[in-house]
């Protein structure tokens, strides 16, 4: 999915005005997930868990080089092959090279945001390889040729009716089929895909450096099959996904599940430890782990943004976000949307590319409370905003107005005068003519000021 973030304001407006069903579907689903997350946090000492997870990830990120070397050595000792991809192009080339070496004609995939980030599917298809997304939500979107709109629930923006229509059309299901029937129909198609696939491609929720273990959480069982049935398993893992020790994994699996879906742990946890031990044993013949940077080391050295690399992609910040709920993820224009997208995208793509996402937030702070690794998203948004102002990426009128405010507010007599003039002399009418406030006043009634200011009341004496 290539980035096209610049027209966020337009796309969010279109989503809200022209696709009310998206807002209904997204709000309904995210509110439900958020409630489950809150309940699941309430069952444990979530504050303590989150502080612990934050500390583990901070330790990891400040020793990332060492742990990457350790992970590579352990993976190789387990019989897995390790590849390093600096950018998206290198990641694609490695996969394509492996596919051609193994004469791959058909691929099954587990849900992976990283493969979206590096635009893997189009590259495979261009090479004449059949690609099957096997996560139900991803499968729906593949049929529709749409990118995911949420990092955990990729088709969260779709209504049941839309899926019923799609499946009736493409899989000849009953147009009124219930979710179970629809899932059964998809499973029928995907079962054949699993059996015929030459390669399984997944992401990785975690990579334990100590043991060289790739850990994957899911609820549908499709990842279990993707990692075990085809001859070759390829896992693309972002370099920030490491964990130092196996003992850390237990906590992270549980915390991530609670944050993402409110479960105490996902229905399936796959620990990929390397290829089948001997011919005839279960498991793939070859396991390849591609460690992908694609901008992450740039984020790591950024004064503020590095904290976003603690992200475990649980989606809790999206679910709780009142901004995300109004539009869903597509309005954001790239694979990572919602609060985490607004702080990560400027780091991965460059701030210029990611404007105006740092401003697509009311700074309400709900995301920080939800985040299992305590990423201070509001603070990071402010840091990006500051950089945007310094680089002149915001409208000059806005900068001038705020500089003017500072000049006035540090001169009390001037401030008092401006206040009187501003609100008394028909500011409401003037506001409609201001370029910035024009839209505001279309959507809201402008307030009328108090008949007398507080200063006047104070001078006259308050009874």
């Amino acid at each position: 999915m290539s980035a096209r973030i610049g027209d966020y304001a337009t796309r969010s407006r279109e989503a809200i005005r022209n696709h009310p069903e998206v807002r209904t579907a997204v709000t309904g689903a995210t509110v439900a997930f958020d409630e489950k997350r809150r309940r699941a946090y309430g069952e444990v000492d979530a504050d303590l868990w989150r502080r612990w997870a934050e500390a583990v990830k901070n330790h990891l990120l400040t020793h990332l080089g060492d742990y990457l070397v350790e992970a590579e050595a352990r993976l190789e000792a387990n019989g897995a092959h390790v590849h390093w991809a600096r950018g998206a192009d290198e990641a694609r080339e490695i996969v394509l090279e492996l596919a051609s070496r193994h004469s791959v004609r058909s691929v099954v995939k587990g849900k992976s945001m990283l493969t979206e980030e590096v635009e893997l599917n189009p590259a495979l298809e261009r090479a004449g390889i059949e690609v099957y997304e096997t996560d139900l939500g991803e499968y729906i979107l593949q049929l529709l040729d749409e990118p995911p709109s949420h990092i955990v629930g990729p088709a969260i923006h779709k209504t049941l009716e839309q899926v019923q229509r799609l499946f009736a059309d493409r899989l000849e299901t009953d147009p009124g089929g219930d979710p179970d029937e629809l899932a059964r129909a998809a499973r029928g198609v995907l079962r054949d895909a699993f059996i015929n696939a030459d390669m399984g491609i997944t992401g990785g929720n975690f990579l334990v450096a100590e043991t060289g273990t790739v850990a994957l959480i899911e609820n549908e069982g499709n990842i279990r099959l993707t990692t075990s049935l085809p001859r070759v398993h390829v896992a693309l893992v972002g370099i920030e996904k490491l964990l130092p020790r196996m003992s850390d994994l237990a906590g992270f699996l549980q915390l991530t599940s609670r944050a993402a879906t409110g479960q105490s742990i996902g229905c399936f946890v796959s620990l990929v430890q390397g290829p089948a031990a001997a011919p005839g044993d279960d498991g793939p013949e070859e396991v390849h782990v591609i460690l992908v940077d694609n901008g992450r080391t740039d984020v790591l050295v950024h004064e503020h943004a590095w904290e976003a690399l603690r992200c475990v992609r649980c989606g809790a910040c999206l679910n709780t976000c009142p901004v995300y709920r109004q539009t869903g993820g597509h309005a954001y224009g790239w694979v990572y949307s919602g609060p985490i997208g607004s702080v990560l995208d400027p780091g991965l793509l460059g701030l210029h590319e990611a404007m105006p996402l740092p401003f697509a937030s009311s700074l309400c702070g709900a995301c920080f409370d939800a985040c299992p690794v305590r990423i201070p998203i509001p603070e990071l948004l402010l840091a990006w905003r500051e950089e945007a102002q310094q680089q002149g990426l915001t409208p000059w009128k806005e900068r001038a107005a705020l500089a003017g405010l500072a000049n006035v507010a540090t001169r009390p007599p001037l401030y008092r005068l401006a206040g009187r003039v501003g609100t008394r002399l028909g500011a409401a009418r003037a506001a409609r003519k201001l370029p910035m406030l024009g839209d505001w006043s279309n959507d809201r009634s402008l307030p009328s000021p108090s008949p007398r200011t507080f200063r006047q009341l104070w001078r006259e004496g308050i009874k």
Binding site: F359, Q389, A406, S445, P449, R455
Partner: protein, 258 residues
């Protein structure tokens, strides 16, 4: 106790009666209220826009104005958060000690009454009222005033009706509502669409009220909004019987504007 009122820009001009009610309430609670005349804007508009140099200038001005005050009270959770939580951050490279000291002495109105004065029962002037509480984001998540405003309202006899979106952002966010006006309006709609039947909505933040009320009026929702300060003064001043149910922010403003 001597308390300095930091009225905030919005309250000065749009919620003047709520600010006056703040004074009445504080006096009723035995405080001597002062109003340092040199006070201006807390600087939050600039801070939220990422203009921290400008915000720091305004912060330093405010720190000077309130330097000698025993306690500073604001009828706004958002501006109180600016002083308490963001001044120390801004001042990190400057006079950090002064910022931290002011932060410790600064309170949002409800916070001051409950945490500093230890009062939750103000009077029963709200008996029989059904109110919904809009929890402002900063008061809730920065100042962690999770129970205080509701406790004060309930202590005054009001029924605080559960509201699924009570703690959800209304979509104001200052500059946000100007820059992302459609999303901001949709956020207000979600608040209004989930609102239970109540006599009025109470909030400790004028910005949220202006935004929600503006949206409510253009949609013809007929919801009444009351500033927390006014609601709490009602609790004390129960003799004023016309009640807040008729306090329509949209109409001609009577006492307790907002």
């Amino acid at each position: 106790m001597k308390v300095a009122l930091f009225v905030t820009c919005l309250a000065d001009h749009y919620f003047a009666e709520a600010a006056a009610d703040t004074v009445r309430l504080l006096r009723h609670l035995g405080c001597e209220v002062t109003f340092p005349d040199a006070q201006t804007c807390c600087g939050q508009p600039a801070y939220n826009a990422g203009m921290s140099r400008e915000a720091a200038r305004m912060a330093h001005h405010t720190m000077d104005v309130f330097a000698d005050c025993e306690a500073v009270v604001l009828p706004s959770g958002s501006c109180a958060t600016m002083v308490k939580r963001f001044y120390p951050r801004l001042a990190a490279s400057n006079p950090a000690v002064q910022a931290a000291a002011l932060a410790d002495r600064t309170f949002e109105l409800g916070e001051f009454i409950v945490r500093r004065l230890g009062v939750t029962r103000l009077g029963d002037g709200l008996a029989g009222r059904r109110v919904a509480l809009h929890q402002g984001c900063h008061a809730l998540r920065e100042l962690r005033l999770e129970t205080e405003p509701a406790a004060l309202l309930e202590g005054a006899g009001a029924e605080v009706v559960p509201w699924a979106a009570s703690d959800e952002c209304c979509g104001f966010g200052g500059l946000f509502s100007v820059k992302m006006t459609d999303v901001s309006a949709a956020m207000a709609d979600r608040k209004l669409d989930t609102l239970p039947r109540v006599d009025c909505v109470v909030s400790g933040d004028g910005g949220c009220i202006l935004h929600l009320d503006g949206r409510s009026r253009i949609r013809g929702c007929g919801v009444k909004f009351v500033h927390l300060a006014t609601a709490l003064w009602r609790a004390v001043d129960e003799g004023v019987g016309d009640g807040m149910a008729e306090r329509d922010h949209g109409g001609r403003h009577g006492r307790g504007n907002g």
